[in-house]
Symmetry: C2
Subunit: 218 residues, 2 copies
């Protein structure tokens, strides 16, 4: 049976992968949980606990083999093959993502964009932009499973339906709307307003805690 890890642990796993690739590029062959913990500013007991849960083993004396951890991480993540991702909606955010070069470390490649605005169509570009009418054929021919959605809010539900009908199984939604989703399709949200508002809440909370402390001391 497949073990299921929660979002937070998967995010930490991805962070471990990133730092291990960096250690490796510096010539390291083995690492200790303390190395990882210090680089990531977390406790080494958390690293050891995570590794235990992920089934990654090392010895106290010799530490962990970087290559073996990386293999195990890739096995858990089900990566290995390059994951092809499309973007639907090539506005400011979509364009910034299309031009972003940092994904390939994580085995991810943006392969095409889709747009309704015909001035943005450019099938000859390094990462081609096609009219949205070609979405379905493209997804099927290229076995695409993952899409980034960066369309205007008012067309987000309609775009979701298009993606679902084309056979997309996972959507990263940058549109600030919740979507009525169906079974068999995973929708995750990146909502930058909410990230900011959440940050402001926690910063204000710190201030209010300070005020509480001051009034308690008086």
């Amino acid at each position: 049976m497949v073990k299921i890890f929660d979002r937070e642990r998967i995010f930490r796993l991805l962070t471990y992968k990133g730092i291990l690739l960096k250690f490796k590029s510096l010539g390291f062959i083995r690492v200790f949980s303390d190395n990882i913990a210090e680089a990531l500013d977390i406790s080494s007991s958390l690293v050891r606990k995570d590794f235990g849960i992920f089934g990654i083993s090392g010895s106290q004396k010799g530490g962990y083999h970087i290559d073996r951890i990386l293999e195990k991480i890739n096995e858990i993540l089900g990566t290995g093959d390059l994951q092809k991702v499309i973007i639907i909606g090539v506005g400011r955010i979509g364009e910034a993502l299309i031009r972003y070069k940092g994904f390939e470390n994580d085995g991810i490649k943006i392969v095409a964009g889709f747009e309704t605005d015909h001035r943005k169509i450019n099938p000859q570009a390094e990462i081609p932009i096609y009219p949205v009418e070609e979405l379905r054929d493209y997804v099927r021919k290229n076995s695409i499973k993952i899409a980034i959605m960066a369309v205007p809010e008012m067309v987000s539900q309609h775009t979701y339906e298009l993606l679902r009908e084309a056979g997309i199984k996972g959507i990263l939604n940058f549109t600030p709307t919740s979507i009525k989703s169906s079974e068999g399709i995973v929708v995750n949200h990146v909502n930058i307003e909410h990230e900011l508002a959440n940050l402001i809440y926690f910063v204000n909370l710190e201030n209010r805690k300070d005020e509480d402390t001051i009034s308690n001391n008086q």
Copy 2:
């Protein structure tokens, strides 16, 4: 004393706020938990539970007064005043965020950008871009508490130190590096690679569950 809510609940609170503003713009004065639940594709018992925890009360017969919920939400979020936010690093992502118009619904305004690349400096723009040397003075004069960090990975720790010294209290970090942060400053991360890799993990998991089911049935 100040009640502290976790990240997930604050995100839901922000989602409630968004949908309530939409209901209000449609002319609604009251809503029922079922209205909210259906619009957001969640259970109405979760809505009622959240409202209970947030101290929002309504009657089963008359539902909730939208304005009263919104007041309560703003009180919890500690918003009300417009929150001024700066961006450090005006590359593709930074630029997309500067030009994005959607923040003001959440009481957030991007007021300035800061850059080291002098070709990008433009103090006359609608949202001015200043050289990074002016960061400290600007933050102090304008009592800025929140910054978005969208700089290249290799300068992220240095940029963090600059922001901290200038008096910034909360950072939304778009750089795919973890930062060694200090007390009294909140750092949240938006890591789009990790969001994608996490989505791919869950989509693969669905496939593997299907395979398991198939092999179990054989």
